[in-house]
């Protein structure tokens, strides 16, 4: 048919039904060659061998309630969850005075509400929520946790803070500081002013070139040299700042990646419309650049969250350190205490980190229209 001119319109046909692989097909794939057959059998054996033991230890043989370590020392006893339950206040508040725990709970509760507000897409008044979270909430949290004797809140020194409280304070401070500071550093690194560029590059490369523990040691030994003596001797503030600055350097590189991935036409169009530098960044460049690097930003947040465990090296009682010291309590001493304690710590970090990771996936899916 060398020539053709259609006379009748073609009709759109429905697509054929999707083809699901049959069980025979799956089996054929799993046993396609001797080697894949061996791998299949090996994997099944491994799972069958490992799962029952884990289930027995963590669930069936676990000790769920006990008032001391006695039941956990029984020969066949599994994980000692009673120990975790008993120590939970210590894991959460450290040595924060018992009758002041409500202050910490209030800070956690308000924080959780604000975070939920901010992280819900299309929530009403998100701008107000952001203002409360970034301006009012830190001050409120500081007053509540630190104390204000004038308001009837006795002072609680940071040497008494510990556990999840400290982990969350360090992580939240790091996250809240590192994103804006990272953005400023990233813009500085791309600035046309040589001095600005040099300062940004020097800061970023120094922080990235030094182990976090070194930054923490430097912060705790050097920061007091610059601060008036009567303000200095706090233990928590230097590592707090150290963690935030360290994370900012990594955040700066992440943000720079986003800035570089954005086509130049976007900034040209913004300039051609007469937008000034900061309006252009705020309204056109950053919303798009940050969106491009959400996975890497969340990755940095997760890294920061886990890195908070390093503050223990400068004498701050974070969550992991509390778990670590609680397992030495002679009342609970026993062979299952250490695995239980560390499993619980792992579970805690996993739940928090994967929560962040799930949220970032959700956000990406929502934004990829």
């Amino acid at each position: 048919m060398p020539e053709l001119a259609r006379t009748s319109p073609s009709r759109a046909a429905p697509p054929p039904p999707p083809r699901a692989p049959g069980s025979g097909e799956i089996l054929r794939t799993l046993f396609a060659t001797p080697r894949s057959a061996l791998l299949t059998i090996g994997s099944v054996v491994l799972v069958v061998w490992a799962i029952p033991g884990l289930l027995r230890f963590f669930i069936f043989d676990a000790v769920w309630s006990a008032s001391d370590g006695g039941p956990c020392r029984a020969p066949a006893a599994g994980a000692c969850w009673a120990f975790v339950a008993h120590k939970l206040p210590y894991f959460t508040y450290g040595s924060y005075p018992l009758h002041e725990h409500w202050r910490v709970n209030l800070v956690f509760g308000i924080g959780a509400m604000l975070v939920a507000w901010l992280l819900t897409p299309k929530a009403a008044w998100r701008r107000l929520g952001a203002g409360l979270f970034f301006a009012l909430y830190p001050m409120l949290a500081f007053v509540l946790l630190w104390g204000a004797p004038g308001l009837g809140l006795p002072r609680v020194g940071t040497d008494l803070w510990g556990g999840i409280l400290v982990t969350f304070v360090v992580a939240a401070f790091g996250i809240v500081v590192s994103l804006p500071l990272g953005i400023v550093l990233a813009l500085g690194r791309r600035a046309r002013l040589p001095a600005l560029r040099l300062v940004s590059i020097a800061f970023i490369e120094f922080m990235r070139g030094v182990p976090m523990i070194a930054v923490l040691f430097m912060a705790s030994t050097m920061l007091p040299l610059f601060i008036p003596e009567r303000l200095a001797p706090d233990r928590l503030v230097p590592p707090l700042i150290g963690v935030a600055l360290f994370a900012s350097a990594y955040m700066a590189e992440v943000v720079r990646g986003g800035l570089q991935a954005l086509p130049k036409g976007q900034s040209e169009a913004a300039k051609a419309l007469g937008l000034r530098f900061w309006s252009m960044q705020r309204l056109v460049i950053l919303p798009q650049a940050l969106r491009l690097v959400i996975p890497a930003i969340v990755n940095t947040f997760i890294g920061l969250f886990k890195d908070t465990t390093l503050v223990a090296t400068v004498g701050v009682f974070d969550f992991l350190r509390s778990v670590d010291s609680a397992r030495l309590d002679p009342n609970w001493a026993g062979p299952t205490i250490t695995p239980t304690a560390y499993s619980f710590a792992a579970l805690f970090y996993f739940v928090c980190s994967s929560g962040m990771s799930r949220y970032s996936l959700f956000l990406e899916r929502r934004l990829s229209r």
Binding site: G265, E268, K271, L275, R369
Partner: protein, 253 residues
């Protein structure tokens, strides 16, 4: 003291004198002299790398020039950021690749600069934007995102976005080069409509039919120089310069 804007009030919309520009060692614009009158429509053509895009990008300060004078609407472009920003408020630009802001809807693309540069209230900016979107016949798509539009539609939105700043001069940098052939006409018709209303415009394009229809003068550039400036009828029927003839032979066939 003479007010500078007063001094140039009767001058052309764009005055370029002795303009030279280098990219590193590469001499990309050489001794450009050009005066564009108010309401005048200029088409600039030439082979790729001839400096035509660079020339119009100098007019709103997207490119810095090293020598010479550029005066736009009575404001001289210097390194002074305030002067550059002032010029950009009065000069609209349309790009080859549209450069719409992909995170904003069509309407938000159009209201962004009016709200944040002209400081119009949001409602007023939206009315203005709807009016111009109506004009480029795309008002029904106001709540879509750029990625949901065809190339021709995106370019028309880009034109509306520029018009929302009420520019006195429009620059077009190959506005139809990135479009599928069947969308070229809708964009050109929009630009022709603007031309008929007396907008001052400089347009880099290879659409010779368009040049013939709307241009007051056609400029041919090659190797960073203006080779020929001519009225469109004589530019096409009797080009004076050898290189112009060669170029026209190649593109018109």
């Amino acid at each position: 003291m003479a007010d500078t804007s007063q001094r140039f009030a009767d001058a052309g919309a764009v005055e370029i004198a002795g303009l030279n520009k280098w990219y590193g060692d590469f001499h990309v614009l050489r001794d450009i002299d050009l005066v564009v009158g108010r309401g005048e429509r200029i088409v600039i053509c030439g082979p790729s790398g001839s400096g035509k895009s660079t020339l119009i990008r100098c007019i709103n300060g997207l490119e810095e020039h090293q020598q010479g004078r550029i005066v736009v609407d009575g404001i001289e472009l210097t390194r002074d950021l305030a002067a550059i920003e002032n010029v950009r408020r009065h000069v609209g630009m349309v790009f080859q690749h549209f450069n719409l802001f992909s995170h904003l809807t069509v309407l938000e693309n159009c209201t962004l600069a009016p709200i944040h540069v002209r400081k119009l209230p949001k409602g007023e900016a939206e009315d203005l934007a709807r009016q111009y979107l109506e004009r480029v016949r795309i008002a029904d798509q106001a709540h879509k995102y750029p990625a949901q539009l065809s190339g021709g539609e995106q370019q028309r939105v880009a034109i509306a976005r520029a018009l929302c700043m009420s520019p006195s001069i429009m620059l077009f940098d190959e506005p139809t080069s990135a479009l599928d052939p069947e969308m070229v006409k809708e964009v050109l018709d929009t630009i022709i409509g603007l031309a008929e209303e007396g907008m001052t415009m400089l347009c880099v394009t290879h659409e010779m039919g368009f040049a013939r229809q709307v241009a007051n003068r056609v400029i041919f550039m090659d190797g960073g120089e203006i080779i020929e400036i001519n009225r469109p009828d004589s530019f096409f029927s009797a080009p004076r310069h050898e290189r112009t003839k060669l170029f026209l032979d190649r593109i018109l066939r």
